[in-house]
Amino acid sequence: MLALFINASAAAQRKVTISGHITDMASGETLIGAGILEKESGLGAVTNNFGYYTLTIPAGEYEFHFSYVGYSETVKLIDMRRDTVVNVALEAGETLSSSHIVARKDAGIQSTYLGAIDIPAAQIKNTPVLFGEADVLKVLQMMPGVQGGNEGFSGIYVRGGGPDENLIMLDGVPIYNVDHMLGIFSVFQPEAVKKVTLYKGSFPARYGGRVSSIVDIRTNDGNMKENHGTVSIGLISDKLHLEGPIIKDKLAYSVSARGMHTVLYAPLIKIALKDAYANYFFYDLNGKVTWRLSDRDRFYFGAYHGRDRFVYDEKYEGEGTETIGSETIHHKYKDRTDVGVFWGNTVGSARWNHVFNSKLFANTTLSYNRYRMVMGAGSAETDIVDGVKTTSRYHLDYHSGIRDFGIRADLDYTPSPKHLVKFGSEYLWHTFIPERMSAVDREVNGAEIQIDTTIHFADPKKKYGGHELSIYAEDDFSVGEHLTINPGARLSMFYTEGRTYWSLQPRVSAKFSTGRGYSFKAGYARMAQYVHLLSSAQISLPVDLWVPITKDIRPVTSDQFSVGAYYDGIKGWEFSVEVYLKNMRNILEYKDGTLMLGTSEGWEKRVEMGEGTAKGIEFLIQKTTGKTTGWLAYTLAKTDRIFPDGSINNGERFPYKYDRRHCIDLSVDHRFNKKWGVNATWSFATGGTTTVPVRQVAVMTPYGYITDAQYVDHRNNFRIPPSHRLNIGCNFHKERRRGESVWNLSVYNAYNRMNPNFVFMDYGPDYDKNGDYTGTSLKMKKITILPLLPSLSWTRIF
């Protein structure tokens, strides 16, 4: 009797696990962050980055609700007697609806993390931007705590950090150069992007390597059901995206290509400018193959290749005769001058998802990333004088780059609904090639070689290696119904130049939900960074160089504390406010008087390590569902730097160059009906800072000579005027027999605000109305690069 009771009791308490993948019904694409909910117990789970979920519950019969934003909810009644695999395909809903899953999400209000924001691809595609080119990084700039650098360019500065403090990953592979056209566009094609997640507060332990933000960009897996695609023609570029099954429900591909018009028209430009061909273009190619071997094993093979290229090729040709005395000389000549520059990334990755059992999921990634910048310039001359040929050729080559090989293993272990344990490790082998320059000088006169010299201006084998190894573990666990805590730690090691740096990075975040839509979070994160960007200017230049830490330059570390309050009690609305305080150590700045040209030669002597603080409060109101969606973000922030040794700003604290006190971003997207939709964004940002001379002053050299100089009282002593602009866009959708056409008309900077890109002091002449010179005066001038710019694009979706 007792045995029977024990058996019955054990059966009642026995835990079983439901697990599987949640996908889009039409395409078979896995859905990231989709939810499963058992309403009676309130237990739920969400899918990870590979669309996989797992939920452990007591054995019994349950009604499970599967849902995702923009999809119709699917309900399944399942008698759970044993561990069960349930793959669910959700159907896109006619009207957007929202599901409120109380489960462990990786980002957003429902997650335990602070400062974690999910940005769906649709939001990126609908946000009006420059030249109608939807841009991932420009949408990120509109999030609270994220600022743009130079007006209209795509650099991001997160919570007082620098441009090199953001780890931007494409399918888990770090990308170093993320810009095209000196930073006007980013390299990410919106058509290839499935989801973007930004972390800027309490970072999950699985991420590391930068101190200010992590941007995790996931690309489409490819349609498993049928072939689809888009063709788009815009003002600047043309795009093609194709995806479909190779073997239905087993093997799918997704390819995207984007290129400036000048890529396609290059042959025509060559013909038109035959003797002085000049061209600039960029292009991006994304490809991915997804192979669903079984319910337990999936493989993903991804590749990205992007380039910016500038070419200039000028030719002269001629012939003639010359008479010297009684002698007539016939000569022919050919001259050629050419310059070519290209830069860009090549990324490859292979991933294997394996479900060991219903509680343990593993993802293993092998990755390769190469950034190269190559510049060549040369001239060649050929002279034929009375049949004797003389050729001379001079050529200069410069190249720099980075190469990373990486392997990482990430495991998700769900022992019970109360725990989600993530652990794993990562190894990155960095090879930095800072600069290599060589010159070839060759002259041949007839059959005789007169000069044949190759000079290497630096050791052609010079490179820096770095080995970065990390292990991490975190557990997102529930204490009762209202409290979720996520403690974690990351231990990383970086080995370079015979020196090993260790860094233990504790991370913790906690969330308390009242159950009526209110929740509160607090978090702490320590981050470490082992690479730096030696940047030349306020825009992204190809000669900017990534360099590793050295035996003398220590890693950058940061400690960030943040707290937040949230409310999502009104359907389709989310309100949040977050406060943060961040301290950064060993951050680098160029010393006073340093030439900022992107050379790595002696770079350690030109920079100084110091400290920085950043603090702020961020408000975000988001409407996520309905015909009108969008957000309003406001950030009040302050960030500064101090270099106590005195080599910068006399050791006094000074504002960081992107210290912007107020930032307001408003984004609204409204869909009137199936045909028409409009969207608008308005951004305001206090100007950053720059340094201007305030007076002329006499200075004394060590030998007692007096000369004059421009006097600067402190670094970043002038606040640039604020920037604000309105971008508007209008979409017209027209259904076709197969698919639809979309016309998009956008206006960037609709009221033509002359926002400053650069400011400088000018001691220039003054003229009166008649144009007569009236004297010389001191003026502050600004350069505006991007005034009102309309654009039109056409997209055919099939």
Binding site: L235, Y394, A439, D441, T453, I455, F457, A458, S536, E589, K591, D592, G593, T594, M596, L597, T599, E601, G602, K605, R606, G646, I648, N649, N650, T691, V692, P693, V694, R695, Q696, V697, A698, V699, M700, T701, P702, G704, I706, D708, A709, Q710, V712, R715, M754, P756, M761, S777, L778, K779, M780, K781, K782, I783, T784, P787, L789, P790, S791, L792
Partner: protein
């Protein structure tokens, strides 16, 4: 197509609107600040102070100011040095007149004997302006010994089209120093050479003695860690022009605090072996005596920081540029700008073997 063309033209026109505008920047052209500059030394008895007025768009001299020097409270009044004059020819009349040189400063001089440990206060007043500074003269460094050896150093220079190995004979001076105890110290090293040339006639009678110098000589440091003070030597570096060089020759004691150190400086041998060609025809015997003077100045941190700033400006220019991080000029002047340094000086002389040349 026509619409497309119109649209393209419109875009081109709008892009060309991207332009330069003047923005509001408030400054007062008459907002002047007094600047005091001075490098005083325990080795001198006459000291010079330079006064000027600094404005947003110009620098002016400052005549008519009162400059006082207090050494341990004892007051000395400095006298203004009149401006130099130069000849200027009127192009219409051809008349020559003397006009004062426009210098952006006014010189003031005073006499005082200064010793390490003295408190020196310089005060300048004019009208409502009253600026001052106070400097305690630091303790000098101790020069223990100097050893010399003559050697050849090779440098590989690389430039477009050519790689060249350049050999130069140098006198290597190994200088043993003992840091001033118990304090952070900052130094600069100035080698000088003085020459005495005796000219004799055929019957060996001296008929003229010419003294030259002491004059400054340039030297190389070839990666001496102390003398380069964290800067490049500039010798043989790939991007020589991009890397700052220690032009101002100052260095701190951070690598040999409260202890002794040996530093090496290299002076080309031609400074010591220059044959006096100019006297070849008038003397049958020329005797040349050369003396090497090494002077090491010790000054305070304010002036060291000032010299670092001046070093940056000497490397890349005295104007603010978008590709150069601006340099902040430190100051130890209260109520104004500039720098006054009082250095305590140590020195050592080496006399080189007499060189005799016969015609």
């Amino acid at each position: 197509m026509r619409k497309y063309l119109i649209f393209s033209i419109l875009i081109t026109a709008l892009v060309s609107v991207a332009c330069e505008n003047t923005i509001k920047y408030e400054y007062d052209l008459n907002d002047g600040e007094m600047t005091i500059l001075g490098q005083l030394s325990t080795a001198d008895t006459t000291h010079t102070i330079f006064l000027s007025m600094s404005y947003p768009d110009r620098i002016d001299s400052l005549p008519g100011a009162t400059v006082e020097c207090f050494v341990n409270g004892s007051r000395t009044l400095a006298r203004p040095i009149p401006a130099c004059y130069r000849e200027e020819t009127d192009w219409m009349t051809g008349e020559i007149s003397l006009v004062p040189n426009h210098l952006p400063y006014t010189k003031y001089e005073f006499e005082a004997i200064l010793k390490p440990g003295d408190k020196v206060r310089i005060e300048a007043t004019k009208g409502q302006m009253d600026v001052w500074t106070e400097v305690v003269i630091p303790q000098p460094i101790t020069l223990i010994a100097i050893d010399t050896v003559t050697l050849v150093k090779s440098s590989v220079y690389q430039s477009f089209g050519e790689t060249e190995t350049y050999e130069q004979e140098y006198v290597e001076f190994t200088v043993r120093l003992s840091d001033a105890k118990g304090t952070d110290s900052y130094y600069s090293m100035d080698p000088k050479i003085s020459t005495v040339i005796k000219l004799s006639s055929e019957n060996e009678e001296d008929f003229s003695t010419i003294s030259r110098g002491p004059s400054e000589v340039s030297y190389e440091t070839f990666h001496d860690l102390i003398l380069e003070d964290g800067y490049s030597s500039g010798m043989g570096d790939m991007f020589e022009d991009l890397v700052p060089v220690n032009y101002t020759r100052c260095f701190s004691d951070k690598m040999f605090r409260d202890s002794e150190a040996a530093v090496r400086l290299y002076i080309p041998t031609y400074y010591f072996r220059s044959y006096p060609y100019e006297y070849y025809n008038i003397a049958s015997k020329i005797v040349v005596d050369k003396t090497f003077h090494l002077s090491v100045k010790s000054f305070d941190r304010d002036f060291y920081n000032y010299l670092r700033a001046i070093n940056n400006m000497q490397c890349y220019g005295y104007e603010v540029s978008p590709i150069i991080e601006p340099t902040m000029l430190p100051s130890n002047i209260t109520g104004g700008m500039g720098i006054v340094s009082v250095a305590s000086e140590s020195g050592m002389d080496i006399t080189f073997p007499t060189e005799v040349y016969h015609r």
